[in-house]
Symmetry: C2
Subunit: 301 residues, 2 copies
Amino acid sequence: MKTYLECIPCFFKQALHAAKLAGSSPKTQKEILMRLSKEIPKFSLNCSPPEMGRTIYSLVNKYSPKKDPYAAEKKKSNELSLAIYPKLKKLVKSSEKPLLKAVELAIAGNIIDFGVKANLNIKRELLSIIKKHEAADKQQNKFFQFKAFEKKLKKCKDILYLGDNAGETVFDRILIEEILAKHKGKKIIYAVKDKPVLNDALFEDAEESGLCDLAEIVSSGSDAPGTVLKFCSKEFMKIYRSADMVISKGQGNYEALSNANREIFFLFIAKCPVVCKGETFSLKDMILKYHRRNDDTQYKR
Amino acid sequence: MKTYLECIPCFFKQALHAAKLAGSSPKTQKEILMRLSKEIPKFSLNCSPPEMGRTIYSLVNKYSPKKDPYAAEKKKSNELSLAIYPKLKKLVKSSEKPLLKAVELAIAGNIIDFGVKANLNIKRELLSIIKKHEAADKQQNKFFQFKAFEKKLKKCKDILYLGDNAGETVFDRILIEEILAKHKGKKIIYAVKDKPVLNDALFEDAEESGLCDLAEIVSSGSDAPGTVLKFCSKEFMKIYRSADMVISKGQGNYEALSNANREIFFLFIAKCPVVCKGETFSLKDMILKYHRRNDDTQYKR
C-alpha cells in the first residue's frame, strides 16, 4: 500500500514511542523527531509505510546506546509466549478443526506488536481477539479466507513463511507444527529480519521459539519493519519468487506487499485505521486475506 | 505550558484535520504537512503549543481558497448553540445555584472545539460532560475551584473574559448574564481573536451570540489559537494587565497562559492527554482552575 497523509502524524508517534522504549533521553527523543521532520519532505507517498518505518527505526537505533534497543522486550515476548505454548497446543489438539484453530492462534499472536501499542497485556488481548473473531465468524468475515488457504496448503510443495514479531514466532510455530502434522514432507522456509528493527523477530527469536527444527530460517536481508522487496537480499528474492506458497504475517508485511505481483496469504490483526479504511477491515479484525497476483505494472515488485 | 514532544505528532494531526476541514485538496494537504515538517526543527519547545498552532492555522489559511475556511462551521456552531439557548437558560433558572450552573454550562460549552475533535455531536457531548461532572463533583474535584471564583466575582470591579470558540460564545453569554444579574454594574470586556484561526470566535461570533449588549467586545490582536501574550496588541495588554479579574475560556488559552504572572480563572474541558498528564486532570474533566500569580521571572509575561 502507499503511504497516506494520515500516516505522517503516526510516523512521529511511532518514532517517539520507539525512542522512549529504547531508553533514549528526552534530548535524544527530540533529536530523533527533528531528524524525522527533515526526512518527511524527501519521502514519496508512493512508497509503503514500512519504508519510512525503516528510516524511523534506523534513527532510533542509531541514537540508542544499545545495539538492539528492544532485545529485552523481545526476550520477554518469547518467554511469555513459550509459557503459554502448552495451553495453546491443548487448544489446537482439543479443537474439531485443529488447522483452523492454529491459524486463528497464529493471527491472534500478531497482537504482540510494539509498533502499534505499548504496555500490552498479551493474555487479555489474545482472549479478546479470539472472542471477537468467534462472534464475527458467524457473520462470514469476507477477509478470513480459510478455505483458499487450506486448498493451497494441500497443493503446494514449499512454503515461504514471512515472520513478524518476536514472541509471535511461538504462535507461528504452532501453525507450522500443525501444517507439518497434516502435510508431511512440506518444506517450510521461515524468514526473519536481517538487523534489529523494533521488536521484529531475528534469527535468535526463531531459534528460541523452537522453529529451527521445523523450518529453515533465512534472513530477508532487510531491516525495514515489513518485507519491502527493494531492500531484500538477492538470496531471499530467489526464495520469494520461487516459493509455491507465501504466508505473510503481520500488518507491516501486508503494508509492504499488498500490491505484490505474486499470490500471498496475509495473516494479521488489523491495527491501523488507515489500513482498515483502505480495505474496509474493522479494527482488531482477524485477517486471512488471499491476495491474488497483481499484474498491474505500476506495482511490479 | 511548554510544548511536549507528544505535541509534535498532534501538530501534524491537527494540521491535516484543519486542512481537510478547510476543504483543501489532497495535494494542498500534503503541501501543508511538508511545510509544517520544515517548521518543526525551528520551533522551540519552550514556546506554548498555541504558538505552533498559529503557524499551523496560518499555513492552512494561506493555502485555503477561502478567507475564513471555518466560517460555515462557526456559523453552524452559533446557530446550534442559540437554538438550545432557551433550554440552557431554563436549566440555570431552575437551579438552586444558578451561578454554579451557569459556570458549568460555560465550561461544558467548551466541548465545541474543532481543534481537538471532528464530527462532534454537541448535544450528546454536553449531556455526557455534565453527567460526568455531577458524578465527579461528589468526589470533590480539586480542579473545580468554584468558591474562589465566586469570592473573586464579589470583590472585582471589571472582568476580562477571554473567549474561545464560536458557538461556545452563547454559553459564555449565559454565564455573563448570570454574573450581571447577581452583580449589577460590573464591567465585562470580552476578548475575541483578531483574525480567523480555526473555529475561534471573532467579533461577529460574539455579536451573533448576543454578547454585544452585555460586554465590550475587544480583539486580542492575536491570531494564535490561544492568548499568546507576545502576539497580542498593546491595547489588549493594557486591559489584560489592569483587569481585576480574568476569566479564560478553553484549553488553548490555558496552554498559552498557564504560567502567567497574574491571577486567572481558567474554565475549560480537559481534552488533551498531555495537558492532563502535566496537571493530573482527567480527560473530559470540567476544569475551573484558580491560577495564582506566577512570580517566577522565567515566565514573566
